[in-house]
């Protein structure tokens, strides 16, 4: 995807990320996602953005995960809901017993 030359991610320093355009992907969107995820960056080969250097593992991964579910661009489809339907029956007493046991367990 690209090669990382990490400037040790210290405050006040700049991280450089080279994003190669060899593969078919939305480089700009990727650059934005990485920029948001890891904080202060300079991106060559895509847009250049600088953010406050607030590198934090959990928050950064969350931000990157968040960027994955946003729908970019316009889509048209010829369906509103999808999928075949299969109905099944189970012994309801058994199911209720299982639900009882599970309700007493932690997550």
């Amino acid at each position: 995807m690209g090669d990382y030359t990490d400037g040790k991610s210290a405050k006040g320093h700049v991280q450089n990320i080279n994003v190669s355009q060899q593969r078919e992907m939305d480089i700009d969107a990727l650059a934005q996602a990485v920029a948001k995820a890891i904080g202060k960056v300079t991106i060559r080969g895509g847009t250049v953005e600088e953010f406050a250097d607030t590198f934090d593992d959990k928050k950064s991964i969350e931000a990157l995960a968040d960027s994955m579910v946003v729908q970019r661009g316009k889509r048209e489809s010829n369906f509103e809901d999808l999928g075949g339907i299969k109905k099944t029956k189970k012994n309801q007493k058994e199911v209720d017993k299982t639900i009882d046991i599970l309700s007493n367990l932690d997550d």
Partner: protein, 371 residues
Amino acid sequence: MTEAGEDILDVLEDVDVVEEKSQKKSESKYKPGVGCDIGTSNIVVTRQTKDGTFVNRFHRDMLYPLDVSDESADLLERSDYLYVKVDNKYYIVGEDALKLVNAIGKGEVIRPMKDGILNPSLKESSELLFYIIKAIVGLPICEKESLRYSVPANPVDRDLDNLFHQMVLNNFFTKMGYDSKAVNEAMAICYDCNPILKSEGNDIPLSGISMSFGGGMINVALSFKGLELRSFSMTKSGDYIDERVSKVTGIAESKIIKAKERELDLDNVDLSDRVQSALHIYYDEMIDRVIHLMSEEFVDKKSEMDGKIEVVVAGGTSMPKGFCNRFESKLKSSQIPFDIYRVRHSETPFYSVAQGAAIRARSDYEKKICK
């Protein structure tokens, strides 16, 4: 034609519409609690109706790209193929993707998932995957409806971490308005199939080994009274078999999938048919490898159970006739450190993960309303 290019957030911020639709769904027939099996090959979403029926909605997790042209527009107008149009491409979705690639006889389908998690090398198809999941799951039927989505355990035979995959799915369902949590894929099968531990004359429920043979992975969990004691996964499941058989026979994977799902009978293999013959060889190799790795894992971790345990098996790759008999006879003569009572195939192997996840989601909901 449905126009739906909006950001998920924009759609979901239209709270009035969500509430109105939620109300309608709730009034109709379902109990709160949704189970989602986001698998490498298929997506299955399950809800339970008030009369106890499980309603499983399923969709093949595949896409087939077609360039926008007069010919492709004409083809889509004359057929009932389901598609999403993005810029200058049509993406035929689900079962139709497989039908079309078989009819055209060239190209391959795109798989948005790989080895049980989001395929990291396909950005566009990941976005399409979320668009598709949304169309299958639908809106919550009440505020913060409980939802459980299945995730694989980390594999013992490859360096792969499912944490990011889990986070992405959690963000997605939370944004849709659900109170979402992950559930281990094999544990979902435990909740659906209820394996039994026979100990000192008692049948202890939700105790034993649960196994899911999916498209990308094989998941295993050891449980006691519904509590997960140990879980792990292994790669090289159904998709690997398709790929290997395609390589050795020179026949396209899409055709191998069709043959595997419609014709394979492991009790009665037609050795004159090279596809059946190769499928049989690779199925045997997978069963041997899985039993070896799981025995090693349980021995390493010094896992013990006092009594005879039941093994429950589900998942699309376990569906060929004769699979369970073959698995049981090999397991009983293996080094696995448990006394095996029997191997039981799920009555609904294709839907077990989603049904188990729905049962878990129902228990989450019960817990919430009892607080």
